[in-house]
Subunit: 237 residues, 2 copies
């Protein structure tokens, strides 16, 4: 296997522990407005609305919309699922919660692993997050990338091919010279279909210990690592 | 004057000393192939072809093209001006020279000033450079930004309004909440026409000591500083 010229990271789940961070961020609201719901369940239920919301955008031909806005819309839908009328909540409160996805903390191995990889490769984000979300998240958690690429540059969400191919094009590399790093088999499968190399990072706690919804979609990926520093050792030595 | 929420930097001239760096990078080629030309003159003559090349793209309705490619094309045109047939030069040599614009060093005040500003604001590039060029340049000179925005995201070169407005939109701010930092009055004037705030950095040595071609286009900008740390002191105190 030839080594890649650049690496592109999925972010939600692969880089940041959205489940723990969202549960922490929504806890005050959930305790006061939805005392029967645990913050962990709230986080998991909210995340379940993410893929359908993006698929619906694509199916309806809706012009590309920032993920921040989808987080706002799925939050309103989630509150309605819980029989809480979102119109009774101040809009500023809803936006502060929607922006909880800007305040996510990395898995503990990420800062060191990212620094190791960036010594050898350009390392960018290839996320469905919009640019303003990623800028805010990086300023929150201190991570530094070579560039923020992915959905907003492509005006297309993963797993649409444009999201992967436009990231390679912006880096001036061929698809097979770019490696997607992700903890989701579905994401890696879509990247592989576009010709990208693939590196799987195992994140068994992404869903708070529950199995990942795409666990059955496993393939033999080009690299497979329990952490980002381990991947760096496989790629940089 | 209200302070901005984010800063966007012009790069060539404002951040990096292209004249000194390009003269250094082309010196071996110029000495062996064009001994009557000084490396400094070569750099200045090359830069003169930059604005016309972008204007020609726009006038001809040519689809957006990476600045790396325009650097390659203007290099060929420059060699022809000097009566040197570019077809006699190996293409790899021409590309190595075209990529000299990826190997530019910052003015000495920039690293400290940028670090100061990033403590208070998201700070991005708003350059006509393509993303791969900026990624390579940052890896060459060690500068770190919150994001690489500008021409390639907009698919439009400055001074077209889309370059400024799409940068503000990607940051999730209104045009008047974004401040362009630049050493060129023409760039600042176009940003102001889009509603951006403006900060002028004086770079008297940009053209090796020769006067800037747009020196007469001076206006009273919102901020005016002799260096990036001085601007930071004006904005962050």
């Amino acid at each position: 296997m030839h080594f890649p010229k650049a690496l592109a990271f999925d972010v939600f789940g692969t880089v940041v522990d959205w489940h723990t961070s969202i549960a922490r961020e929504v806890q005050p609201f959930v305790q006061s407005h939805l005392p029967a719901i645990s913050p962990s369940s709230f986080a998991l239920d909210w995340r379940k609305l993410y893929q359908p919301a993006m698929r619906q955008c694509h199916a309806q031909g809706r012009p590309f919309v920032a993920l921040d806005i989808l987080h706002f819309e799925t939050l309103r839908a989630l509150l309605q699922q819980y029989d809480l009328d979102p119109d009774t909540i101040p809009e500023a409160t809803l936006w502060h919660m929607a922006h909880a996805w800007r305040r996510l903390d990395p898995w503990p191995d990420v800062p060191q692993g990212l620094a190791m990889l960036r010594q050898a490769f350009p390392v960018v984000t290839l996320s469905n997050a919009n640019i303003a979300l990623m800028v805010a998240m990086n300023r929150h958690n201190g991570l530094q990338w070579d560039a923020i690429l992915g959905a907003e540059l492509a005006k297309a969400y993963k797993p649409e091919p444009a999201a992967y191919l436009s990231t390679a094009a912006a880096l001036g590399v061929q698809p097979h010279e770019l490696c997607l790093v992700a903890c989701h088999h579905s994401d890696l499968a879509a990247a592989r279909a576009c010709g990208l190399k693939t590196a799987y990072i195992d994140r068994p706690m992404e869903y708070g210990g529950a199995p990942a919804p795409d666990a059955a979609a496993i393939q033999h990926w080009d690299w497979h690592a329990p952490s980002v520093p381990d991947l760096a050792q496989q790629l940089c030595l």
